[in-house]
């Protein structure tokens, strides 16, 4: 059972990675990162359940820390995106760095 969750986590990670690369809209990229994060957290939780009868608390602690980090990072990303929209009217990153 736990193995299934771990696989799902990996799948989410891969899906998120794909979305991050493919989509140009910043909102989608931010969402993609979040999904990748969720995937990793799922893997961690699944691994916690696999080791012994009582779930291992250490990976749970890692996940909580990770969630906190993800929230802050997402907040920063959203703030930057909004500011960029305000300044340039564009929700996508420019393709090439401007000279």
């Amino acid at each position: 059972m736990a193995f299934f969750y771990a696989l799902t986590g990996v799948a989410l990670f891969t899906l998120g990675l794909y979305a991050l690369i493919i989509y140009a809209h910043l909102m989608r990229k931010i969402l993609a990162i979040n999904i990748m994060g969720s995937g990793v957290f799922l893997v961690l939780v699944a691994l916690a359940a696999r080791t012994q009868t009582v779930p291992d608390p250490v990976p749970h602690a890692m996940v909580i820390t990770g969630i906190v980090v993800a929230v802050s990072a997402t907040a920063l990303a959203l703030a930057l995106m909004l500011r960029l929209l305000e300044v340039s009217g564009c929700e996508e990153l420019a393709e090439e760095p401007k000279e």
Partner: protein, 487 residues
């Protein structure tokens, strides 16, 4: 008596908490941010002197925070390698702090100092961490504060660069975290020492190796994962560019080096050669691109891409001399690159632009700045006497000793390319343009810090035996032989 007291102070903890406290104070008291920030910088440097004496006297130090040991507690560890990087951070950090006091206007100052001190505490914590998850946390903290610092400049270019940097940074961290998860699954610990004892070359571990390396390579901007670096470093304000190129990219390199030396099981021939190959590509690509740039800050940023490539040439060689050479290059680059970005900041401030072709006899109007750029350039080119030469010499020796002479050619070729772009700038600094532009006075603090950083890059090449001896404390490079022997 005093020395006895000094020895027993937990400098490790002080070095991490001082910048944190400083950051908070700067945030809470924005009017005093500049003074508080500068004071904090000096006290951090002073406490590092304390740590230096402690380590010189007692050797490598381990500290258990709060008395809770692994696997639930956080351990801090300092050996010669960490200490070298901490000292480098302090020296460059001090210079950047002084520079920043003169650089930023009132509005931006209140944002800069809390973020910069937060970043510094993340760096210090990172170099002192003894377990893999703590490294993850420090990496994230580092990345977020760095991104915010890039965005301070405010324009569309800077914001776009900041977002790109943020996405890449998060991507790298997630790869790393997934690797940590897999390692924990296999060995039930994240403490580096315990992991080193229990690790073995099973598929999950190999996958973890790949994931963690990939994540860290994204953050270190090794070719071809370097695309985010030039816009971020070029569009940030000058002191931020300096700290990004000099310090932030080195942090993920340090983690990779630690993993390589302490955690990853033997042997890594293939991965080593692969990293070396990417490094060589970075040297060539970065050098060529730098030559093509019209803006000074972009040139310097691509120079960083190239110089990072040099560091990875140590991986296929993997001897003590090779590591020391790479670390010496790392140290010299930190000093030289911060000097260069500071010089670029001065030129930008002076004339309002940083177009290389239009430098308009800056050599005469800003002699100290051009001297700073030139001296820094000497180190980047690897010409004697400079720290860059020492690093280059050690790597050349390591390459020839190992019989892999093609790396030597890469080093020499990279040196020639860097001579090309450095002297391109210096040459135009002597010549006149048709139309002069309006000039603004550059504060003495900005000119002198740039010059002092560049001078340090040169002087570090004359005192080589001491940093090299320092690196050996705690025998960080000896562990390659011992680990993985317990199955």
């Amino acid at each position: 008596m005093l020395t006895m007291q000094v020895q027993n102070v937990p400098w490790l903890v002080i070095v991490i908490t001082l910048p944190l406290v400083g950051s908070l104070l700067c945030f809470l008291l924005p009017q005093q941010a500049k003074k508080l920030g500068l004071m904090t910088a000096f006290t951090i440097a002073a406490s590092l002197i304390g740590l230096l004496f402690q380590v010189l006297d007692q050797g490598a130090q381990r500290y258990t925070v709060g008395g809770w040991d692994a696997p639930l507690g956080i351990n801090l560890y300092v050996d010669g390698l960490s200490l070298l990087l901490l000292l480098m951070t302090a020296l460059v950090g001090l210079g950047i702090s002084v520079y920043a006091t003169a650089y930023f206007n009132r509005d931006k100052t209140v944002y800069y100092w809390p973020l910069w001190l937060l970043l510094w505490s993340a760096l210090n914590a990172l170099f002192l961490s003894a377990d893999l998850f703590n490294l993850y946390v420090c990496l994230e903290l580092l990345g977020l504060s760095a991104v915010a610092l890039v965005a301070i400049a405010g324009g569309a270019d800077a914001l776009g660069a900041a977002i790109r940097y943020l996405l890449v940074s998060l991507l790298g961290s997630l790869f790393y975290l997934l690797g940590v998860a897999l390692i924990y699954h296999s060995v039930a610990s994240v403490d580096i020492i315990i992991v080193a004892e229990r690790i073995d070359a099973t598929p999950p571990i190999l996958a973890a190796m790949g994931l963690m390396s990939a994540g860290l390579l994204f953050k270190t901007a090794l070719f071809p994962m370097h695309f985010w670096l030039p816009p971020a470093h070029a569009n940030a304000p000058a002191p931020v560019s300096a700290l990004l190129s000099a310090l932030v990219v080195k942090a993920s390199f340090y983690i990779l080096l630690r993993l390589w030396l302490d955690v990853f099981p033997l042997p890594q021939e293939v991965l080593g050669q692969f990293l070396g190959l990417l490094g060589a590509a970075a040297v060539i690509w970065g050098g060529v691109q730098a030559l093509r740039q019209t803006r000074l800050k972009m040139l310097i940023a691509y120079s960083t891409v190239a110089q990072i490539g040099y560091l990875f040439i140590a991986f296929p060689l993997a001897t003590s001399i090779a590591w020391k050479g790479a670390l010496y290059l790392l140290l010299s680059h930190a000093l030289a690159k911060s000097a260069m970005f500071m010089a670029a900041g001065n030129i930008l401030h002076f004339g309002g632009h940083d177009t290389i072709l239009k430098l308009d006899r800056v050599a005469q109007r800003l002699p100290l700045t051009v001297a700073a750029f030139s001296l820094a350039g000497v180190s980047i080119m690897g010409l004697p006497p400079s720290g860059g030469f020492i690093g280059k010499w050690l790597l050349l020796n390591a390459a020839l000793q190992a019989g892999e002479w093609w790396w030597a050619l890469v080093l020499i070729g990279g040196g020639l390319l860097s001579a090309g772009y450095i002297f391109k700038v210096v040459g135009f600094a002597f010549t006149q343009t048709e139309a002069s532009h309006e000039v603004h006075h550059v504060p003495a603090a900005m000119q002198w810090t740039a010059f002092m950083m560049a001078l340090a890059a040169i002087l570090v090449g004359l005192i080589a035996p001491w940093p090299l001896a320092l690196m050996d404390i705690g025998l960080p490079f000896e562990m390659v032989v011992n680990k993985g022997s317990n199955g």
